[in-house]
């Protein structure tokens, strides 16, 4: 297994980083929260122009045909800015699924269109009202509908930017797409949740580091005090150890077997644990400021919480790891089997 990124992957990640750094600043968050607008149109247009929405789609439907690892790098950057738009769920999960079921669907031909997905593991659907199409599930079968063919009830998420909907619908009014691998959608989503978790965690730490360098108490920057800096060091350790797990899960996701699934689950658990740990540390380091709405740290706490509980709860993912342990052969010659194969 190779943990290094190639030039193209690095370039995509840097493009995402620059684009988000310019277009998704704290000022942008605040403005968007004030106006309550679902999208920042200029930002979304810039995202579309970079090709991120086409990245995972097969070339046959006009996509770039790149891999989950490539997209995970974008998702990480989306996490770093708590991106309000549903880039990850639409382009990373719903669109590839639709492409596998209905490659000619018109929603796929418009790179700025988003696709929403109702998955058996989630009670709510993200950004359903603005989607060009909504993938729906019933008895293992997939259906497709437009927002005006279903009944949407808005639910307020703990995360001010997550626009959730309860979807009530009638199969007679939707297009049946047949049997589909819902588990693959879940694996992709869980992987990209993990990647976002890395970004969320790093941002929480970075914010706290710069605050601890500026904020003075007892005549010194608070980052001088071990009681403060140790919090941030521990959070960074968690991030550094989560990152390779995410890369390993991305590299292997196509296998869709018990090993690959356990690796995705592992990635989601540790990356979002790192994000929660980092958000907790960041709030603590910011002191009372960290408990105020104005100081943005809460956005990362809340996004981490939402991603932790969606696309499989921590319990669900731990049980998938347990399944690998209890169903696979054990013994010295089996240890870390997949790594040996891929070495």
């Amino acid at each position: 297994m190779d943990f290094t990124l190639n030039d193209e992957q690095r370039m995509f990640a840097e493009t995402a980083q620059t684009l988000f750094a310019d277009t998704c600043t704290p000022d942008h968050w605040r403005k968007q929260m004030e106006t309550g607008e679902a999208r920042d149109d200029a930002r979304w247009q810039a995202i579309v122009e970079t090709g991120f929405t086409l990245l995972l789609l097969p070339e046959a439907v006009g996509g770039l045909g790149l891999t989950e690892l490539d997209f995970a790098l974008i998702a990480e950057q989306a996490g770093y800015v708590a991106l309000p738009e549903p880039l990850v769920e639409s382009a990373g999960v719903a669109a590839p699924m639709l492409a596998s079921l209905a490659p000619d669907h018109e929603a796929l031909s418009d790179p700025s269109a988003t696709i929403a997905i109702q998955h058996p593991s989630n009670p709510f659907v993200l950004d359903a009202d603005l989607a060009a199409a909504i993938l729906l599930h019933k008895d293992g079968e997939a259906y497709l509908a437009t927002p005006d063919q279903v009944t949407l009830t808005r639910e307020q998420s703990i995360d001010p930017f997550r626009r959730l909907f309860r979807v009530d619908w009638d199969p007679a009014k939707a297009t049946a797409l047949g049997k589909v691998d819902w588990d693959l959608a879940l694996d992709r989503a869980a992987l990209f949740c993990a990647a976002q978790g890395l970004g969320l965690a790093q941002r929480a730490v970075d914010m706290a580091v710069s605050y601890a360098q500026e904020r003075q108490q007892f005549g010194k920057a608070i980052g001088t005090y071990q009681a403060v800096k140790h919090h941030l060091a521990s959070a960074q350790v968690a991030i550094e150890f989560a990152r390779p797990v995410v890369v390993a899960a991305a590299a292997d996701i196509g296998n869709c077997d018990v090993q690959a699934r356990a690796r995705v689950s592992h990635a989601k658990l540790v990356a979002l644990e790192a994000a929660e740990k980092a958000a907790r540390a960041s709030i603590q380091v910011h002191g009372a400021m960290g408990y105020s709405w104005e100081v943005d740290v809460h956005l990362f706490l809340k996004r981490a919480l939402a991603l932790t509980q969606n696309w499989g709860t921590p319990n669900f993912h731990r049980s998938r790891i347990a399944t690998r342990m209890f169903t696979q052969p054990t013994g010295p010659d089996q240890t870390f089997a997949r790594e040996t194969e891929n070495a």
């Binding site: 307020q156 703990i158 007892f218 005090y225 009681a227 009372a288 408990y291 939402a306 509980q309």
Partner: protein, 392 residues
């Protein structure tokens, strides 16, 4: 050794419980169990006055000032029964638990006569002017200035995180009254009418969407020369005396409220089936262990008649409960799962457990952060050398 309470104390418990539950089932049923401190302010003030009318507003105070001279044990019992009955958070807890005891301990007879009846009677709501933008953990770094001009103090500066300032009548202000003084020297402890011209309050929104605390600005705000407690320049001693009330035994009775929260988590786990999940059961059991730990710790402190030993144990209590409740918030959200992500109504309003998760993010910060608590335990409790300060 005897754990638990005496027969006399149990009788007192019955008396408290009967009265409180009667009120919450009757005249004040409409505010039973309402969260936070920010809504139904007028009803909450009426409730304070009802408590006062029946001598339940400040039971630990001397009888001559409206109290019952209640023992520490009785105060804890009352706090427990208060939480058990679902009585609402007290809008004047700063007046009753901080301002009143400080005036009793350090104030003149004239000041007692002037302020205590309003606090005891539930007609004067108080807030606390301690923290400033540059004086948080380092409280002695306050910059708000108080200058004596004839027979008045003139106050300029800014306080922050002033809980409940937006509906308070009075504030106690820790201000620097000696030009050029540093640290704990040259500070004066003033009591000011919040309706004074020159005092302005701006709410601060919290991460749970509520706005219980504020920025408080003082621009040439004036108060009479005799508004101080203690002597000019000696305010730090008073301020620290007050902090001892805040961090000390006044929180011993809060376990009943915690019990309610843990019970709500157990109920939620039963309702969604997670109560059968071994991992969740382990974590709930761990929370129960932590709660009982605090319970016995509190009982130990109550059964100790030597005040110096009570103080030593009390040093450790804040970090213990704050850390426990922060973890409890995380447990609550893991038990609620995806249901915990969405609000109760369309606005950013939260039911008990998600609100507890969000609010408990502040438990390890306010009233002395965990880091400051550990410093206090190590330096005052264990006698370790003080961490070097940059400026003094």
């Amino acid at each position: 050794m005897k754990l638990g309470f005496s027969q006399a104390e149990e009788d007192f418990r019955t008396e408290c419980a009967d009265w409180l539950q009667g009120q919450m089932a009757g005249e004040f049923a409409d505010i039973k169990g309402i969260p936070g401190l920010n809504d139904e302010i007028e009803r909450r003030k009426e409730w304070e006055q009802q408590l006062a009318a029946h001598k339940w507003s400040c039971i630990g105070w001397p009888e001559e000032w409206g109290g019952r001279n209640a023992t520490l044990g009785q105060q804890v019992i009352f706090a427990e029964e208060y939480a058990r009955a679902g009585a609402p958070g007290r809008v004047n807890h700063i007046g009753v638990e901080l301002a009143g005891p400080t005036i009793l301990a350090f104030g003149t007879e004239e000041q007692k006569a002037r302020f205590l009846p309003g606090i005891a009677g539930g007609t004067q709501i108080w807030c606390q002017g301690y923290s400033e933008p540059n004086a948080g953990s380092d409280l002695a770094n306050v910059r708000t200035k108080a200058r004596l001009d004839g027979d008045e103090w003139v106050v300029n500066g800014q306080k922050v995180w002033t809980s409940l300032a937006h509906y308070s009548d009075w504030i106690f202000v820790v201000a620097r009254s000696e030009e050029g003084s540093k640290g704990p020297k040259g500070i004066t402890f003033l009591m000011m009418d919040m309706h004074t011209p020159g005092i302005e309050v701006r709410p601060i929104r919290q991460i749970n969407g509520d706005a219980e605390f504020n920025e408080t600005f003082f621009e040439d705000a004036r108060c009479p020369a005799d508004s101080l407690i203690g002597t000019p320049g000696d305010g730090w001693r008073v301020a620290m005396g007050l902090l001892a009330f805040e961090r000390g035994v006044s929180t011993l009775g809060q376990q009943m409220g915690f019990r309610n929260e843990l019970d709500a988590i157990v109920e939620a786990a039963r309702a969604n089936g997670l109560a059968n999940d071994p991992l969740v059961r382990q974590r709930i059991a761990k929370a129960e262990i932590g709660l009982r730990l605090m319970r016995y710790g509190a009982l130990r402190m109550l059964s100790n008649t030597d005040p110096s030993q009570i103080d030593g144990a009390a040093l450790t209590y804040k970090i213990q409960w704050a850390s426990w409740r922060r973890d409890l918030g995380e447990l609550a959200m893991d038990v609620l799962g995806q249901e915990g992500e969405i609000t109760e109504g369309e606005d950013y309003e939260w039911s008990m457990l998600p609100n507890m998760f969000l609010f408990s993010r502040s438990d390890t910060i306010y009233g002395g952060t965990n880091q400051i608590q550990r410093n206090i335990i190590a330096e005052r409790g264990l006698g370790l050398p003080r961490e070097p300060r940059g400026d003094r």
